[in-house]
Point group: C2
C-alpha cells in the first residue's frame, strides 16, 4: 500500500504531528520503543527518522530524559512560538494524579493484561439482555430532552427513593440529586458545601487518597481503619472547628480494606458526630454487593437530624459507563448542590438516567443483583482458594463479605513499586496499597473482573514476581 521507506513514513508522521500543533513546542515525543512498536519496525529505523527531524531543527534530545519538540515549521520561520502548554499545566488548581494512578488508569484499558486491579464487574457479570431490553423500552419513552433543573429525572429519583427504602432509608425524591457517579458527588460537596478552610477527616487507607478530591485550601486528616472499621476513638481525639469540618466515610465493604463497621459502632459514631456537630458524608456504593448476609444498616438510617449526606452509585452494580449515582441529604443541601451542578455540567446524561430508571422500575435491577451476588461469591471463593494455595506463607487477608476486593497484607516488607512494575512486566495489573496511602506492604486484588483462568494465572504471576523483587 504505502511505498515510502519505513523511516520516511516515520519522518512524515513526526513532521505532521508537529505541523498540526498536536505535538506542541516543549513536549516530549513518545519513546523510541513506543514508536518502533507503533510502526512495527526496529529501533534503529526509528533512530534514523529522529535524526532527520532533529537535523531539520524541530527536535532535540535532552540527556537521560528523551526527545523534545523545540521548534515547529512556523516557529523556525518566524518569531512566533506557541504558548507553552506544558508550563501552563504545571501550576494549575487541579494537581496531577500520582504516577502509579495515571499508569493504572491507562493500563486498565489494555485487553492484553490480566486485570486484578479493576473495581468493576467483569464481562460475564454485565447484564447484556437486561440492558438490551431496557434500551428497547427506553427508546419508546424518549421525549425531547433538554437542560434539566440540575436535580435529575424525577422518575429516576422516585425509583431510587423506593430502592433505598429496602435498606431502611426514607428519602423523598426531592431530597435526592442524580450525579454522574460517587466521585462527582464528593466533588460537588467539596466545592459547594464545605468552607474554604475546612478540615476533612478521611479513613486511612482510603481510595480517596488515589484521586485528588479536595482542593489545596482544605486540610486532610487521616484516621486509621482497622478490622472493625474507622477507629472512632482516634477521630474524637481530634479538634473540630464548628462548621468547618467534615467526616468522609465508606463504612460498608470499605475500599480498599473491605471491612464493615458494626451497627453498634455506627450508632456510637453518629452520636458522637452529632455531639460535635461533625457532618458525615457516607459513601455507600458497595452496599448492594453483599454476598453472605446483608450488611448493617447505613448510618443514614440512624440519622434523624440531617447529619448525614448519603452517596450511592450504579457504577459498581451495573456498569461504570452509565455514569449514574445519587446523593441524598437535607433539602437545603440538595438545592444548593443543584445550583452548583448547573454551573458544573448541567446534569447527567438523560439516556443513562432513563435506562437506570427502567432497570429499577422493571425489577430487572433486583434480579440482576441476585445473579451478581451468586457469581461474585464464586469468584471471591475461588480467589480466596488461590491465595490460600499459593500465598498463605507470605501474606494474610480476611474474607470479604461484600464488594469486589480482597485486601492482602504481606508478612514481610516488600518494595511495592518494584512488585507493581514487575507484575506489569508479566502482564498482570494489581493495585498497590500505597496509592491508598497505606504504608504496609499491601495490595488490593479484584475478584470481579478477571476470568477464573486469569485469576489463577494472575496469582501465580504475583507469586513469581514476589520472588523476583525480594
Amino acid at each position: 500500500m504505502n511505498k515510502k521507506p519505513r523511516y520516511l513514513q516515520i519522518v512524515h508522521w513526526m513532521r505532521e504531528k508537529i505541523e498540526q500543533g498536536e505535538w506542541v513546542i516543549g513536549s516530549k515525543i513518545p519513546t523510541q520503543r513506543e514508536i518502533a512498536e507503533k510502526f512495527g519496525v526496529n529501533r534503529s529505523t526509528v533512530i534514523t527518522a529522529i535524526e532527520i527531524v532533529k537535523s531539520e531543527g524541530l527536535l532535540e534530545g535532552k540527556t537521560g530524559s528523551g526527545i523534545y519538540v523545540i521548534h515547529n515549521q512556523w516557529s523556525l520561520n518566524s518569531e512566533m512560538s506557541p504558548p507553552d502548554w506544558n508550563d501552563l499545566t504545571k501550576w494549575s488548581l487541579q494537581p496531577s494524579s500520582v504516577h502509579t494512578v495515571q499508569l493504572i488508569n491507562e493500563l486498565e484499558t489494555r485487553k492484553d493484561l490480566i486485570q486484578l486491579s479493576k473495581g468493576e464487574l467483569g464481562p460475564d457479570l454485565f447484564p447484556h439482555s437486561e440492558i438490551a431490553k431496557a434500551m428497547g423500552a427506553v427508546s419508546t419513552q424518549i421525549q425531547d430532552f433538554g437542560y434539566g433543573d440540575g436535580l435529575g429525572d424525577l422518575e429516576l429519583r422516585k425509583e431510587i427513593s423506593r430502592h433505598l427504602q429496602k435498606s431502611g432509608i426514607k428519602i423523598k425524591p426531592e431530597c435526592i440529586l442524580i450525579v454522574s457517579g460517587a466521585l462527582q458527588a464528593l466533588k460537588l460537596i467539596t466545592v459547594g458545601i464545605l468552607k474554604r478552610g475546612s478540615t476533612v477527616f478521611l479513613e486511612n487507607p482510603s481510595y480517596l487518597h488515589s484521586v485528588n478530591v479536595f482542593p489545596a485550601e482544605m486540610t486532610i486528616k487521616r484516621i486509621p481503619v482497622d478490622g472493625n472499621g474507622l477507629r472512632i476513638e482516634e477521630l474524637f481525639q481530634q479538634t473540630f472547628t464548628r462548621n468547618a469540618s467534615a467526616l468522609f466515610i465508606n463504612p460498608t465493604f470499605h475500599n480498599p480494606t473491605t471491612t464493615s463497621m458494626s451497627l453498634e459502632q455506627r450508632k456510637i459514631l453518629l452520636e458522637k458526630c452529632q455531639h460535635y456537630k461533625l457532618p458525615i458524608i457516607e459513601d455507600d456504593i458497595f452496599r448492594d454487593l453483599w454476598m453472605d448476609a446483608r450488611p448493617p444498616a447505613p448510618i443514614k438510617v440512624l440519622d434523624k437530624n440531617g447529619q448525614v449526606l448519603y452517596i450511592g452509585s450504579f457504577s459498581k452494580t451495573i456498569a461504570p459507563g452509565l455514569r449514574i449515582g445519587w446523593l441524598a441529604g437535607p433539602e437545603a443541601v440538595i438545592k444548593r448542590l443543584r445550583d452548583v451542578r448547573m454551573q458544573t455540567d448541567y446534569g447527567s446524561s438523560y439516556l443513562s438516567q432513563l435506562l437506570v430508571k427502567e432497570l429499577l422500575a422493571s425489577g430487572m435491577y433486583e434480579n440482576h443483583l441476585k445473579n451478581v451476588r451468586t457469581i461474585l461469591k464464586e469468584r471471591r471463593d475461588y480467589l480466596l482458594q488461590l491465595l490460600t494455595l499459593h500465598l498463605s506463607d507470605v501474606a494474610s487477608w480476611s474474607k470479604p463479605s461484600g464488594g469486589l476486593f480482597i485486601w492482602v497484607l504481606f508478612k514481610k516488607k516488600i518494595n511495592m513499586q518494584k512488585l507493581f512494575k514487575q507484575c506489569i512486566n508479566e502482564n498482570v495489573l494489581i493495585n498497590p496499597g500505597y496509592i491508598y496511602h497505606d504504608h504496609q506492604s499491601s495490595i488490593r486484588l479484584s475478584y470481579s473482573y478477571a476470568s477464573f483462568e486469569e485469576m489463577e494465572m494472575g496469582i501465580l504471576t504475583l507469586k513469581k514476581s514476589l520472588l523476583d523483587v525480594v
Copy 2:
C-alpha cells in the same frame, strides 16, 4: 382517600419534613402561597397549620423574611443539633448563581410558561425518529462498558474528527477529548491548564458571566464585543503575563449578541495572540446552526501552532440531555485533561457517546442538521417579523445568520429587573442582558424553542409588560 382535615395533613407533612431531616434547622420553609398551591387549599388553612407547628417549638417566623425551622423533634429533647448546612454553604469555593440565573434555571422546566429564554431546540426540532433508530442500532452494539481512560470512546472521537474536517479542521482522534458539554470543557481547562493566578480575557457581554466558571484565584477582564465581534484593539491594549493569561472567545454566532467575526478579523486576532503567546479557547458550539451561509472558518483552522483549544458540543444541535461535547487541542493538553477528567467524574456516559457516534456515522446527524436549518430559519424569520410588527418603535436588533437567538436592545433605558419579573407574572420567560454583564437595556430572545403561537403571544406580552414597567 385521606380523611384527615386538610390543615392536619399539612401539619403532618411539615413535622415529617423536619423529623426526617429534609428540612434542617436553620432552613426556610416554602412560602404560604407555595404550600397552599401544593395542597390546593386557602392560605388561611396553611397559616393554621404553621401556627400549630410553631407552637410545638419547631418553627419560628422572622419578620419580613419567612418561616424558619428552629428545632427538630430530636433537638427539642436533647442537647444535640445538626450541623448548620445553611451556614456551611456560605463560604464554599463555588459561589451561588446570581438570583436571576437560579430563577431562570428553575422556570425553564415549567411547561406553563412561554419559553423565549431556552437556548435549545424545541420539541418539533428534536430528532425523534433518528434517535429511536440510533437507539435500536446501539442496543445491538453494546458491550460491557467500564471506566474508560478519560478520553472517551475512540469510535466517537473518530467520527468527530471526520465531522470537523468538513469545517476544515484537521484533528486526529487522539487530540480529541469527549466532555459532558462545553461548560465542562471550560471547567476542565480552568482547573487543569490555567495557572492559579491567571488573568482570563472574556467577551463582554458573554454567556460566561451567567455561570461561575472561573475560580476566585483568577482575574477576569472584560473586552467589549460589537457588531464585528471582539474589539481586538481593546484586547491588545491590555498587558499579558506570559503563560498566565488566556482568551476565551465565542467568535461564531456569539452568545448572546449573535455576531460572528469575519475571517479577516480572525486572522488578525490569531496573529496577534501568537505574537503575545496568548492562548485562545475557542467556543464554537453554534457553528453547525448556520442558516443563510456557512460562517467563516474556525480560528482553529488558521492555527498551525497549537495556539487554540477548540470546543464543540451536540447540546445545541441534537439535545442538551445527551451531555456530549468535545475539546480538541495539542496532545499535551488532551493528555493532561484526561487525567483531570479521571479525577473529576471518570468520563461521559457511554450510552450517550454510542448514540452520538451512531447519529454521526449513519449520516443521520447531517440530515437532521439540514432539517434544523430550514425550520430554524422559518422560526427566526417569524420572530423578526413579530419584532418589526410590535417593537420597532422601542427597540432595535440585527438579523442573526445562525444560532438560536435574537439580541434586542431597547432604545430607552428600562428597569430590566422589573421587566423580567413582569414578564414572568404574565407567564413569559426572557433572558435579561444583565445576566451576561450587559449594561444596556437588552434581552436575549430565543426563536428555537417556543411554538409560532407562543412566540406571538410572548412578544405581545413583552410589549404589554414594557408599558407596565415604564
